[in-house]
């Protein structure tokens, strides 16, 4: 068999995007939800076939555009499709009747397609194209509520900072091109051994900064709390659960092509990881808005992933790379669920009552009495983020921690202890939210809240169940995380 089926993962959402837009414009806006969901379900077929089919071709070329799927691409595809599907399901009632609903779905589908494409690009410049396309579609989604000043402000900052990042990525590409005369990742990798390293090191620095803006490395993160808290909740979930991770994967891909300084990059990641964890947690501790708090907690979770990758690159720990991949997947589930649950509350408490404001922690007082399911799933998400067993976040953090200790290096072990203390610190802001929801006295906002629609509840339950099941059976995701971890290590020649 010589079938190339994986590009369909990219083609289906990208092709569906304009169709959904047209369907919304020409026919009925209410069709778009079903159509978008159908398109995403269709994209699962090639994904499943990759894993069931034997000897499936995993590279594809049209003229100079090449695509190639490896462990990292499949991880990104899985994460994107999984959360994308749930978010589209969730958005059905959430976005119903909004002006520009068809644009929302069209952009979301396009973003999903671009992200999967990003994971599969094998040429550095095409790679940038996917990245930029993903970024543009996300700018539009962040500033979707264009009548709300705060969300415009967030969109503007996000756009300008990402554009600066993009300039750095292009500078890095120019340096690589100038030094090697090629843009194909494999060719660059084989060529770099004989070249002077200073130019490539500079290119690497540009890649770290350029993609780092998207990954929200501290101190490049300043756009993130704004953008993630102001976007429509489904988009917040996608941004926190997938887009910043896509940035991380993009950064790893770009750096790995340089084929030099792996250990230095590893140490750099450890440094940024430490900074991200501490900064994200301390800032989240100060927040009173639910979504802004969640946004800051994304910083700290990126820190854990960076830590895992740092252990892998600086010390060759496979458990680190695999743990980072596992945490990336789990973070998609946990943060996706947290943002969607926050969105469900915003929908029931505010949107349904024609109120336009942000969700404060104290608005949730007594939520469990009226919305037991949403409160329970939100609690599961928060406690999983805080790393409590038997939930998924505990297991992936543990895997990263194992990598640190297996190195036998005192500094790395110290970093693990630091990360564990950070997890404890994070409980200081997750736990009060849970506590608030289970109060006996209901707050005004809850009292006046309307009901949460079934489609939203289904999406919350799907994610919450996955978190519990993976927490109880952590090796369940090995089929995905193990190849991804190996791919990261081998890309860096470890």
């Amino acid at each position: 068999m010589n079938l190339t089926i994986f590009p369909w993962m990219i083609a289906v959402p990208l092709g569906a995007s304009p169709l959904v837009y047209l369907a919304g414009r020409l026919f009925r806006p209410s069709w778009v939800r079903g159509l978008a969901l159908f398109a995403l379900l269709l994209s699962w077929i090639p994904f499943v076939l990759i894993f069931t089919g034997q000897g499936m071709q995993l590279s594809f070329n049209v003229e100079t555009i090449g695509l190639q799927a490896d462990g990292i691409s499949l991880l990104l595809a899985a994460v994107t499709l999984a959360l994308g599907t749930v978010v589209v399901l969730f958005s059905g009632p959430y976005m119903a009747g909004e002006v520009g609903e068809e644009k929302y779905y069209a952009m979301l589908l396009a973003m999903i397609g671009f992200m999967i494409g990003l994971g599969c690009a094998k040429d550095l410049f095409n790679f940038w194209m996917w990245f930029e396309a993903m970024a543009v579609s996300s700018y539009l989604l962040v500033a979707f509520y264009r009548e709300v000043p705060a969300s415009l402000e967030a969109g503007v900052k996000y756009l300008v900072q990402s554009a600066v990042g993009s300039v750095f990525v292009l500078l890095g590409i120019a340096l690589v091109l100038g030094n090697t005369g090629s843009l194909d990742m494999d060719e660059i990798r084989s060529a770099t051994g004989t070249l002077p390293q200073s130019g490539l090191a500079l290119a690497g620095a540009f890649f770290v900064i350029g993609f780092g803006v998207k990954v929200a490395l501290v101190p490049l993160h300043t756009w993130l709390p704004d953008a993630h808290s102001q976007a429509p909740s489904g988009i917040s979930a996608m941004l926190s659960g997938v887009v910043i991770e896509a940035g991380l994967i993009a950064m790893l891909r770009a750096l790995s092509t340089l084929g030099i300084l792996s250990v230095s990059w590893g140490m750099l990641f450890l440094g940024f990881g430490t900074l991200n964890m501490l900064f994200g947690n301390l800032m989240a501790l100060q927040q009173t808005q639910v979504k802004r708090m969640l946004a800051y907690s994304s910083l700290s979770h990126i820190g854990y992933m960076l830590l895992g990758i740092g252990f892998a690159l600086s010390d060759g720990q496979q458990a680190g790379a695999q743990g980072a991949a596992f945490h990336l997947f789990n973070h998609m589930l946990m943060k996706g669920l947290a943002f969607l649950a926050a969105g469900a509350f915003m929908f029931a408490l505010f949107h349904q009552n024609q109120v336009q404001r942000s969700l404060e922690v104290k608005d949730l007082a007594g939520a469990a009495r009226k919305y037991p399911l949403a409160a329970l799933t939100f609690s599961i998400a928060l406690l999983a983020l805080g790393g409590l067993p038997p939930l998924a976040g505990f297991m992936s953090k543990w895997q990263i921690f194992v990598a640190g200790f297996q190195s036998g290096n005192g500094w790395l072990m110290g970093l693990v202890i630091f990360a564990a203390l950070n997890s404890v610190l994070s409980l200081a802001y997750y736990a009060p939210v849970v506590n608030m929801m289970y109060r006996q006295k209901m707050g005004d906002a809850i009292e006046q809240g309307k009901s949460i629609p079934l489609a939203m509840n289904i999406s919350l339950v799907l994610l919450a169940l996955s978190i519990v099941v993976i927490g109880l059976w952590p090796s369940l995701m090995n089929w995905l995380t193990e190849p991804a971890g190996q791919a990261i290590l081998s890309a860096f020649g470890q």
């Binding site: 930029e132 543009v136 503007v156 756009l159 292009l170 500078l171 120019a174």
Partner: protein
């Protein structure tokens, strides 16, 4: 001492970048920010052409430079569209006044 043309272009690129970043640090007007971003991107475009030339792949450098111009136009359009909305909602383009999200 004569200046190698490639180096001259490189110096031009660095100057453009310097102008661009300096602009980003001091400019408060959103439209000017978009202009400054364009300066940065133009610097990059030249850098790409230069890189292609320097590595003996001028065709490759020029083709991706052209693609960057196209892609960046889209970004500029989106940025300007946001700027229009900002002007409508905030009544100003002064970024120092558009900073409600902090802390």
């Amino acid at each position: 001492m004569t200046l190698d043309p490639l180096n001259a272009v490189l110096i031009g690129v660095i100057l453009l970048l310097a102008v661009g970043f300096y602009g980003l640090l001091i400019t408060r007007n959103l439209i000017k920010i978009v202009l400054v971003l364009q300066i940065l991107v133009k610097a990059v475009v030249i850098a790409l052409v230069l890189a292609g030339k320097a590595s003996g792949q001028p065709g490759l450098g020029q083709s991706i430079a052209a693609t960057v111009i196209v892609a960046d136009t889209i970004v500029a359009v989106v940025a300007l569209a946001l700027a229009v909305q900002v002007r409508i909602r905030f009544g100003t383009l002064d970024l120092s006044k558009i900073s409600s999200l902090r802390g």
